[in-house]
Subunit: 415 residues, 2 copies
Amino acid sequence: MVNLEEIGKKAVTAKYSLQGKNTEEKNAALFLIADRLTENTEAILTANAKDVAAGEKNGMHAGLIDRLRLTEERILAMAQGLRQIAALPDPVGEILEQFTRPNGLRIEKRRVPVGVIGIIYESRPNVTADAFGLCFKAGNAVILKGGSDALNSNKAITDIIRSALLEAGMTADVLQLLETTERAVTAAFMRLNGYVDLLIPRGGAGLIKSVVENSTIPVIETGTGNCHVYVDKDADLTMAVNIIRNAKTQRIGVCNACESLVVHSAVIEKLLPALREALSPYAVEMRGDERVREILPDCVPAQDGDYGTEYLDYILSLKTVDSVEEAVAHINRYNTKHSETIVTENKEAAEIFLDGVDAACVYVNASTRFTDGFEFGFGAEIGISTQKLHARGPMGLKELTSYKYVIRGNGQIRE
Amino acid sequence: MVNLEEIGKKAVTAKYSLQGKNTEEKNAALFLIADRLTENTEAILTANAKDVAAGEKNGMHAGLIDRLRLTEERILAMAQGLRQIAALPDPVGEILEQFTRPNGLRIEKRRVPVGVIGIIYESRPNVTADAFGLCFKAGNAVILKGGSDALNSNKAITDIIRSALLEAGMTADVLQLLETTERAVTAAFMRLNGYVDLLIPRGGAGLIKSVVENSTIPVIETGTGNCHVYVDKDADLTMAVNIIRNAKTQRIGVCNACESLVVHSAVIEKLLPALREALSPYAVEMRGDERVREILPDCVPAQDGDYGTEYLDYILSLKTVDSVEEAVAHINRYNTKHSETIVTENKEAAEIFLDGVDAACVYVNASTRFTDGFEFGFGAEIGISTQKLHARGPMGLKELTSYKYVIRGNGQIRE
């Protein structure tokens, strides 16, 4: 029986305890946890084998089984990830601003941990270590709710981390796992205000929608990406084909993959045949409007729903426009505010696009696939935010912090 | 009949239109609106008189009638507020960070408007102009839902602002008012995701709780303040009395007023008699623990509920502790993460308090009453955030913005 109230209280106590630890102590704990994870590879693999066997028995899709399965290499990668997080600068305590008021009050805006972070995720058990590591380094206590299919794996990983935390002189409750497969418990977890400061869902669109609709705790939406490449009339078409091929096919199941091509009517005749050839080794299905189908007669007619769909598959929708302004309007209507790119040699068109498109990341002449914490140089990421509050785009350690104002006076009162 | 879907769509169109306007155009509109408000004082007062008469007829509390009532002076103050907002620097477009990656991608983090902001507030009709002005200057479209008691007043003010917006060459839909007194409409408004990016409730604890529990749009909680003054063993007791008197009595109904005194046992004997004398002109009711009552025998015994209560009245709870650490733990248990102050001459105790207390604003040797956008030098504020995401403490123009990453490449694809 999961007692959420008790878990919440333990997390709050652990949060204050962790906030009394310095950077060296946190890093030492991360290194120790990394070692203990690899040393206990067998135990993790045994627990994981149970989850995989149950998944196979229940007819789980092969792709999901692959995400669920741990290997020696994946456990090594988890440990390595924690060591990389240890090497990143500690964001806590940074002075963001400092100023003195005419009455002598000295005001300092200081970066502090968020507090208690809840993470609800699906079947990849390596998220357990990754998400913990980032939250912990930024001074936060964590409550994880992983996928039911991965409960044995998550429990094994969590047990090892918790005992290593104790060994490192930390409170084990800095990390707690909700050991439940009951939906009602997850629903109640989403309403644990007063204990949990922030909830981050990681997974498919269904999971994220459910958290947004049911949580009373502040949520950061992550990951849904209906990303566009717009090829302008003044594009370098070789570059355009190259960027589309990369954004569409380099990895199809990720949120920053391209799902839709918007193309200026002036270049459609030259671009499309070259693109079809470039995409042919990947058997990408194209779904286009009438003007596209005049040039590519075998192209599937695009339905209205296509322009709003994140395929995560070898499918690309195509839309013809007559100006950059029309491209901007089309993208703003259908996108998920994630990542959008224009291919153009025209500086004016580029600025119209960069200013006008409403998305976390707007590119000129580059693939949307660069929206990623490592690619941005953040060292690691907890997810890509597609909402506009607190954090937008790739979220690293800094995005797992808040701030407080520290004000020093010498007896000031308000007149 | 209010059509929320249509209102949402109009707000989104207006948002993009406003984002095409520069600072001068926005400021010119603010000045024009200010003029039109004062020129139409009679119309506003006539509409307001209807609301006041209805309130009196329905037996509305005198304090609420006072908040509802507009006067020539209050309308002048509204107009003056808009002119002050025009004079503030425009936050939109500021480059927050800029860096180049090893692969040549130039990444810029640029401040942009949030988009569409919804504000749900209670009976003070001057909020209509204030909230609009701040959101507008920061480039946002606004949808307001004011108190039902003030509907005529809000409608009059909104009509004047909308027609001045048109006159200034702006889309009137930059400001829309939900003209409804139906709770079901307000409830549906809180679920208008896809159109509204941020919801800010302004009003009492009940309103804020209802918005947090029912909204699926990101919410910034504002205003609930159970603020403490802690008097340390090394305090200057004259300063302490002065700060407590100010924080408790300078204005009792505000969120940054002091509700609870925490006092070190070493100074309790000297402090309390002096404090009682200082507070006697205000007839402040004191509710203390046993050790307090040994010194002030006429003090009311504090019940458990007292320490968690925001009185907004001439009442003060008192708690005795034996160390700064105990004070920090007590405050973190009962506070609302708003504003807390320590009075001490001991630097070590001050740092323990500033580090340990979890609140938007932590003070040493100053009144909690300084937590305010004007006092912080932000020029104006939309509220005081008591949550930890996006913004904490006084929220000015910058806190009504988000950011986007603008990335410039020359054909980069991801390997």
